[in-house]
């Protein structure tokens, strides 16, 4: 996997993160939304550790 592929993967991860963060903001009065999106963000963080962090190296 080359640097370009990694950047593309990272771009999709960041897009997903942005959507999840927006959903979280919309769910402040909606526990089932807020808590599930919080967990989703933790999983997205694992994608960042595995891919995004190294895309910038």
């Amino acid at each position: 996997m080359n640097a370009k592929d990694l950047k593309e993967l990272d771009s999709k991860i960041q897009s997903m993160k942005k959507t999840a963060e927006e959903l979280k903001q919309m769910g402040e009065d909606f526990p089932a939304l807020y808590r599930n999106v919080s967990r989703l963000l933790a999983s997205i963080k694992m994608l960042e550790l595995n891919i995004s962090d190294v895309a910038g190296v």
């Binding site: 996997m1 990694l6 919080s38 967990r39 963000l41 933790a42 999983s43 963080k45 694992m46 550790l49 595995n50 891919i51 962090d53 190294v54 910038g56 190296v57």
Partner: protein, 444 residues
């Protein structure tokens, strides 16, 4: 097919060393800033040393940062934000997991984790399990007591994460666990080396079941160095007809290294998630080259609730001279964790400080000052014998003393003992330094 992929992360696990170092430096700056900005404990430590986040530009700069020891964590805990104290970097409501150290070296250290940290634990273990050949088709049995100790909890979640099927063997006794493994044709399991051998012994000698006839083909060990000791590994592999792999981790650190399928005599440090430094215990010099032992100072680069930044683990390790034939660029430590920088030892997988026994013996009314602790092996299982003396004229209280002693030893050290009562004055006396603790396990 994803199951045929050799690496859990084909990018990070084969990254050139100089790129790994660049990644580590960047991630270290990030976790250092995080701890500095959010934890009174860390900020105080670093301000006292005159170091701010902007000062960290190289690995030499990192070495100027003070290390953290377990005793420091004990000192700040049981205070607000209760019970973690000032090392906590997130609001209490974001903490989703509590674990603690065994407490055999003193007060247990509490460990807070957020859900993201817990995902990170499982992620670290996913690297381990994939490298040891675990795949989605595996049915993994966990014969351990799910409790406040981290042990194989993260292994459980990682097995789920990689797509395997998990069978929790929590409160079952050994025989019931073996029957469940047999009934479900489990293909892998995780346990301490002592228990791996103990289970094999029970199956063979009490149940008439040859462990080799079961479907277990992979065993992941932790808690004791046995799986990195060639003779013990061989015994386990022969008993079960399975490959046995080692890994090392700790409550305050995480799962930081692992053996891979190549079984090349060392454990890979997960250098994408951890920064391992080795320091000469005599000179304080940092060791980069293979073949020189020193104590490990470790940073978990992504753990947030209660960061692990330059933790003085006191584990003795050394870099291996050759890369692993598996192709991973994560460096190997030769022979796993080969010892501890202090006098703490592991018995039955539990860290034991002789001072904890002394504390119990000396605190018990009716016992004389002298005692002796002998650790040896009964077959493959660690055995610990405590020899004590009852004070003259107190012999009639033996039952009460014995009961209290057993209770307090279990409470303070998490271990069961063979107690030997001797006549007063018959145990050895010492003039200068006492040798009350005798570890005979390597001398048979």
């Amino acid at each position: 097919m994803i199951s045929q992929q050799k690496y859990w992360n084909p990018v990070l696990e084969t990254l050139a060393h100089e790129k790994i170092r660049k990644l580590q430096l960047g991630k270290f700056k990030r976790i250092f800033s995080w701890a500095y900005e959010r934890s009174k404990f860390h900020r105080g430590l670093y301000e006292k040393a005159g170091i701010k986040p902007g000062d960290i530009r190289s690995f030499d700069d990192i070495r100027r940062i003070p290390t953290v020891e377990k005793s420091m964590m004990r000192g700040i805990q049981r205070k607000d934000p209760f019970p973690y104290g000032d090392a906590l970097c997130v609001p209490l409501e974001e903490v989703s997991e509590f674990r603690q150290t065994s407490g055999t070296t003193g007060q247990p250290v509490y460990q807070a984790d957020t859900w993201q940290d817990w995902e990170w634990w499982a992620e670290s273990w996913a690297y381990i399990l994939w490298a040891q050949g675990y795949r989605p088709k595996d049915r993994v049995f966990l014969p351990f007591g799910y409790n406040v100790f981290v042990a194989f909890w993260a292994g459980h979640y990682a097995a789920e994460k990689i797509g395997a099927e998990v069978v929790p063997g929590g409160v079952l006794d050994t025989q019931a666990r073996i029957l469940k493994i047999q009934e479900l044709q489990c293909t892998a399991m995780m346990a301490t080396p002592t228990y791996v051998l103990g289970m094999a012994d029970t199956a063979k000698n009490k149940m008439g079941i040859d462990p080799r006839s079961l479907a277990i083909r992979k065993i992941t060990c932790a808690g004791e160095p046995g799986a990195s000791i060639p003779t013990t590994k061989k015994r386990m592999e022969e008993a079960w007809g399975a490959k046995v792999y080692d890994h090392a981790g700790a409550t305050e650190i995480g799962a930081w290294c692992f053996e891979c399928e190549a079984q090349s005599g060392g454990l890979h440090v997960n250098e994408a998630f951890f920064l391992v430094e080795i320091q000469d215990t005599e000179t304080g010099e940092y060791i980069e080259e293979p073949g020189r032992r020193g104590k490990m100072i470790i940073t978990a680069l992504d753990r947030q609730a209660q960061p692990c930044v330059r933790f003085d683990s006191k584990d003795i390790i050394e870099w291996a001279p050759e890369p692993c034939p598996c192709g991973r660029s994560f460096r190997l430590i030769k022979g796993g964790v080969v010892g501890r920088a202090d006098d703490i030892t592991k018995v039955k997988g539990v860290l034991l400080a002789p001072s904890a026994i002394e504390e119990v013996v000396r605190g018990l009314d009716g016992l004389a000052d002298e005692f002796e602790v002998i650790v040896d092996k009964e077959g493959d299982i660690d055995r610990i014998t405590l020899k004590i003396e009852i004070l003259k004229g107190r012999e009639g209280e033996r039952k009460r003393i014995e009961a209290q002693l057993k209770d307090q030893l279990r409470l303070k050290t998490n271990l069961g003992y063979n107690l030997e009562f001797h006549d007063y004055g018959t145990l050895p006396r010492y003039d200068v330094k006492a040798k009350r603790f005798k570890d005979l396990r390597g001398k048979h």
